[in-house]
């Protein structure tokens, strides 16, 4: 039986996943776009953000304090990483960047395993965010609403920053033609440190917010990183707008695929085959979407580079 309430609920979940992905993609797409830098360690910042927030929450009992501490800590870490390790890599090929940031992932994963153990941490929902709001007879969890609200707020702020400020202008200019910006006398490295710092803080925010809904575990950074890469490829490297549209598409399609694809297949396939094919195709859905987008627009939906 098809249930419209379930559809609405899952759309809601898809929206929430999409906004979480956007928090990660917004910073990363600029890193890729402006410096032509392949950074795999972004997922590690997300993971560390989640762990720091979880730990502070468990110590103090205050989720808000956890988020508030996690953001600046990871921002600082991000800026240090950028200045210390990544900067020498800008002039190198993509392969060196891939390997060095891969090395960072291995290090941070092992570091987390050493400090927090292999098990992962459960973060309790803060009391004031428990419960549901009923809209059209459908219970929507308060916490997820908050995640959506924060995500939308960040998206709005990023939009204003990028389109309405001088810094944003430099960021956009850097993404479309870095050499020209430098030739005009702008220190693009400073712009980039700023972008990287913002990206790190947003990753930490995503991690901290994900804590109570998803498990805080060691592999969490990589799993979401791959989805974020798909978002960025679909949206077009260096484009905030693309990251937003891509994230929404991926979030909603992924969740809807997982919930409804086997029901859909049962319409025309035997039950057995549908139950096998459903989850299998659902897990591939976002990659198929990516392939389809690339087929028609190899530079993504909103290409930022101009020649």
């Amino acid at each position: 039986m098809f249930d419209p309430n379930l559809l609405f609920e899952q759309l809601f979940n898809g929206l929430q996943l999409g906004l979480l992905l956007f928090l990660l993609a917004a910073g990363l797409t600029l890193v890729f776009g402006i410096m032509d830098m392949m950074n795999l360690a972004h997922g590690s910042l997300y993971m560390l953000g989640a762990y720091v927030a979880a730990q502070i929450t468990l110590w103090t009992g205050s989720f808000l304090l956890g988020v508030a501490v996690s953001l600046p800590v990871i921002l600082l870490l991000g800026v240090c990483l950028e200045a210390g390790l990544l900067r020498p890599l800008y002039a190198r090929g993509h392969l060196d960047q891939v390997l060095a940031t891969f090395g960072m992932i291995l290090f941070f994963n092992e570091f987390v395993r050493l400090v927090w153990g292999p098990e992962g941490i459960e973060v309790p929902l803060p009391d004031f965010l428990k419960g549901n709001i009923i809209i059209f007879d459908i219970p929507l969890p308060n916490y997820r609403l908050v995640v959506i609200g924060v995500g939308l707020l960040v998206a709005l702020m990023m939009y204003l920053l990028v389109t309405r400020t001088r810094t944003g202008m430099l960021i956009r200019a850097g993404a479309s033609n870095r050499d020209m910006v430098q030739a005009l006398g702008i220190d693009i490295n400073r712009v980039f440190t700023l972008v990287f710092g913002i990206g790190a803080a947003l990753a930490a925010l995503a991690g901290a917010l994900a804590g109570p809904i998803l498990a805080v575990t060691i592999g969490m950074g990589e799993n979401i990183l791959i989805q974020v890469l798909v978002v960025i490829v679909i949206g077009g490297i260096g484009s905030i707008r693309g990251a937003f549209v891509g994230a929404m598409l991926i979030g909603i399609i992924d969740i809807l695929g997982r919930s409804f694809l086997d029901t859909f297949f049962k319409l025309f396939l035997p039950v057995n085959a549908a139950e096998t094919a459903g989850p299998a195709v659902a897990s591939m859905l976002i990659y198929i979407l990516m392939a389809a987008v690339l087929f028609f627009k190899p530079q993504g939906l909103f290409p930022a580079k101009t020649g």
Binding site: F32, D36, M38, L85, P88, L89, R92, H94, L95, D96, V98, L99, A100, F102, G103, M104, I105, L106, F107, F108, N109, E110, F111, R113, L114, E222, I226, L229, V230, I232, V233, I237, T276, P279, A280, A282, S283, M284, Y287, M290, A291, L294, F295, P298
Partner: protein, 315 residues
């Protein structure tokens, strides 16, 4: 290039590999037989990656997918009681080749960072596909009921026999790569790596060459996967996990990219490092991660380049 030094190093490695079964038998340490066999299988995978990455300039971050596909073909065949190696192994190569055609057509539309991300994403798709295949073990993987059966020709259920089959496969792969790289095809591929626009202008359909190389590399990796399934008697999605693809890249880079035997040296170095470090501490990646960063920053040209190649490179 330090050709003679390279030959000496590689020759020594192969003589050493040939003696491992004897050593393992005399010292009663079958562990080393297993370790060396795994290393050689990974070396075949790394060799195939080096074809596209070192000589083609195409950084594929999803090469483990083809190893996984090859392994899954063998595993799935065995599950359906199709155990003949004469069917399984060619099928593994063909199926990996077919996937490589599709994935290559998608990813070769792009370059640079895009290419890395797309190969990574497609490989991860195969990983999740493996996880969702409940019929074939899903997340937990699937034990191989029976190794590939080559009838009266050779019996690879014997571990030492399988070892020498793998060793032979590695030697053949190396010779194949040598032929390929020095052929006209290999020249065009390397020319495209250096300057794609120029090659196009001269009139070479570069995409066709790159796709062919991509597919050949995928088929070789699929073959390595068929060996790997027989080696571990087990298949699971982890073979396709993106960190496995990362391992392959590390092996190629450790050995020295774009040098013919580099991946073999790199695979050896990788396995030895893994063994050594994990013997020192359970948290060995705490050391390995920074080591990797140091290699990237300081040892350009890989280990083979670092030790054997004080002279000028010839290209």
């Amino acid at each position: 290039m330090g050709n003679r030094a390279q030959i000496i190093i590689v020759g020594t490695i192969f003589v050493g590999l040939g003696l491992v079964p004897l050593f393992a038998e005399l010292t009663q340490t079958p562990f080393y037989l297993d370790l060396a066999r795994r290393m050689m299988i990974l070396a075949i995978g790394a060799l195939s990656l080096n074809l596209i990455m070192g000589y083609g300039g195409l950084i594929s971050f999803g090469h483990a997918a083809y190893i996984g596909i090859g392994a899954y073909v063998v595993g799935i065949c065995a599950e359906h009681e199709l155990v003949s190696g004469f069917i399984q192994w060619p099928l593994a190569i063909i199926v990996s080749g077919l996937f490589a055609i599709i994935f290559g057509l998608i990813s070769l539309r792009t370059r640079g960072v895009y290419f890395i991300m797309i190969t990574l994403a497609l490989a991860q798709m195969m990983y999740f596909l493996g996880v969702s295949l409940d019929r074939y073990g899903g997340d937990d993987g699937l034990p191989l009921i029976e190794r590939s059966n080559f009838g009266a020709v050779v019996d690879i259920t014997n571990n030492v026999t399988l070892y020498f089959i793998v060793l032979g496969a590695l030697v053949l792969s190396l010779l194949f790569c040598k032929r390929l790289i020095n052929s006209r095809f290999g020249m065009v591929l390397q020319g495209t790596r250096s300057n794609e626009t120029r090659m196009k202008t001269i009139g070479f359909p570069t995409l066709r060459y790159q796709l062919t190389a991509f597919v050949i590399a995928g088929m070789m990796a699929g073959f390595a996967g068929a060996l790997l399934a027989n080696h571990t008697d087990f298949i699971n999605p982890d073979m396709m996990h993106w960190t496995r693809s990362g391992d392959l890249i590390i092996m190629v880079l450790l050995g020295g990219m774009g040098s013919l035997a580099g991946p073999v040296v790199g695979a050896l170095a990788f396995i030895l490092l893994e063994e050594l470090l994990s013997g020192v501490t359970e948290y060995w990646q705490l050391i390995f991660g920074p080591f990797l960063i140091l290699v990237v920053l300081f040892a350009r040209g890989g280990l083979l380049g670092f030790f054997a190649n004080k002279e000028q490179r010839d290209e």
